[in-house]
């Protein structure tokens, strides 16, 4: 295992295989807790803790766990980490815990985490698995933060609770409401596609649309 290989595993999670933008995983916490940047970061950190921890364990014991019960074992491992995170947050930062509410326990069900165990940690050596988990978690964190920041800035005129535009700013309430989550993520994905899209393909597409008759 060369050094740069594990580095690669790390990087790919942040951009190319970003769990949210590219793989569309873990959407529920992504949308549910991103109405402020702080919540987004807290959630991201909790997820990172669980993901990295369970990837480490799963990868370490990958040859011991029989295939037939692997899912159950993964779930037990993940749930244990989540419970740990849950109680820790509750003890240390009860305010944040209240905001995140049920979504801390729901990390268990985050498809991203189980998905990574299935697809990666259970097949690759520990070091790579941890790097992969770190990368994915960072990617997730980045996604959470960008959504949380946008929603907080527009929805509250503030970032991390600091007012940015003065008192007479009219907040965009929708940003904090559920539809705002969907719409903002949709628009962010649109920009993500825009970057990924090869420019000439786009032009081709336009040309084709124009040729196919109706001007749509």
């Amino acid at each position: 295992m060369k050094k740069n290989e594990s580095y690669e595993e790390f990087l790919k999670g942040i951009w190319r295989d970003n769990p949210v933008f590219a793989q569309v995983l873990g959407m529920c916490p992504m949308l549910a807790v991103t109405n402020s940047a702080v919540n987004a970061i807290a959630m991201g950190m909790a997820t990172m803790f669980v993901l990295v921890g369970s990837s480490f364990l799963v990868s370490t014991f990958r040859n011991v766990i029989p295939k037939q019960v692997r899912i159950s074992c993964f779930i037990i491992i993940i749930a244990t980490f989540v419970t740990i995170a849950d109680y820790t947050l509750l003890a240390l930062v009860p305010g944040v815990h209240k905001e995140l509410g049920a979504f801390i326990p729901l990390i268990v069900a985050n498809c991203l985490i189980l998905g990574r165990q299935e697809a990666f940690a259970s097949r690759y050596p520990t070091k790579l698995a941890v790097m992969d988990a770190l990368g994915m978690a960072c990617g997730f964190l980045v996604a959470l933060f960008s959504l949380g920041a946008v929603r907080e800035i527009l929805g509250d005129g503030a970032l991390f609770g600091v007012k940015l535009f003065g008192d007479s700013f009219e907040p965009w309430v929708i940003m904090i409401l559920p539809p705002g989550g969907f719409l903002t993520l949709g628009v962010i994905l649109l920009f993500f596609n825009w970057f990924k899209y090869k420019k000439d393909e786009f032009l081709d597409d336009v040309a084709r649309a124009e040729r196919s008759g109706a001007d749509g």
């Binding site: 159950s72 000439d200 081709d204 084709r208 040729r211 196919s212 008759g213």
Partner: protein, 280 residues
């Protein structure tokens, strides 16, 4: 504290209980199914294109596991994927010769004449139903890109001459373009077959060349110049029969007056600009 005992006890109990239930269920409720089918299916591309001759990827996987077909029959998979399936199933890859789509027409807008002007929905089949679409040669390419749209692998691009140019790198020999073309102009041909007839017109002589500058006028020179038996004239067109004669050599095309038969390097219409160039 008793918590210290209850927690592990409950958890172990639950683990034991459900472990047992599931294990027992495994035994008694088991539906026999070769796990390799699922695994093989996952290794297949999942496009369900039917190029392998099976109705979809899963049936192909079933046949693969049953040993009735060879992994190489999936033309869509990459070589590595074929290899890993073969390795997994411990069978021979049976990789067939690489096939690519070739166009049996070279009459683009510069070579073939139009007798009428088509107006309407852009598409070859759509044009073909309006009295043939206005192209003089009723057998030739209409150039309205149904094949380009049909190709899922982005292997076809219309060139500036109005002909579909196949990128042999990208072509996976799925037969989508073959099915899409209303004039039945595409065929799958081994990539290493260099000798190729790029014309489909059953007319002979001037009747043919009047319609298209690159039409085969059925002069028969290629048949005469090729190795005996390799090319025969059939329905006013040369037919290359590798089984009946051989070996192909470029000499066969030298005397063709219209370039209807060609010696291909790799791509067809290499000398023509692609449409992208026009866009730029």
């Amino acid at each position: 504290m008793n918590n210290l005992l209850t927690a592990p006890a409950i958890m172990t109990g639950i683990g034991l209980f459900f472990g047992t239930v599931l294990a027992v269920a495994q035994r008694f409720l088991r539906v026999d199914e070769d796990p390799r089918i699922e695994a093989t299916n996952e290794l297949l591309p999942g496009t369900n294109c039917g190029a392998c001759g099976q109705p979809g990827c899963l049936p192909f996987a079933e046949k693969l596991v049953a040993g009735e077909v060879e992994p190489g029959q999936c033309t869509v998979s990459t070589d590595e994927a074929i290899e890993s399936i073969a390795e997994f199933l411990q069978v021979d890859a049976g990789r067939a010769e690489k096939l690519v789509a070739r166009l049996r027409c070279a009459g683009g807008s510069r070579q073939a004449h139009q007798i009428a002007e088509y107006r309407g929905f852009e598409g070859c089949r759509a044009a073909a139903v309006v009295s043939g679409g206005g192209k003089g040669c009723a057998w030739g390419c209409l150039g309205l890109a149904d094949c380009e749209r049909a190709c899922t692998f982005d292997a076809i691009h219309m060139n500036a001459n109005g002909l579909p140019q196949v990128d042999t790198e990208k072509c996976r020999a799925c037969p989508d373009c073959v099915a899409a073309c209303p004039k039945d102009l595409f065929e799958l041909v081994p990539l290493n077959q260099h000798l190729y007839v790029q014309c489909n017109i059953p007319l002979a002589g001037e009747a043919a060349t009047q319609l298209c500058a690159t039409a085969c006028d059925a002069c028969g020179r290629c048949a005469a110049d090729a190795a005996p038996g390799l090319i025969r004239m059939e329905g006013n067109l040369p037919v290359i029969d590798l089984a009946a004669g051989g070996p192909p050599a470029p000499e066969a095309v030298y005397r063709c007056p219209t370039n209807a038969i060609v010696w291909l390097d790799r791509e067809q219409f290499q000398d023509q600009e692609t449409r992208k160039a026009r866009n730029a």
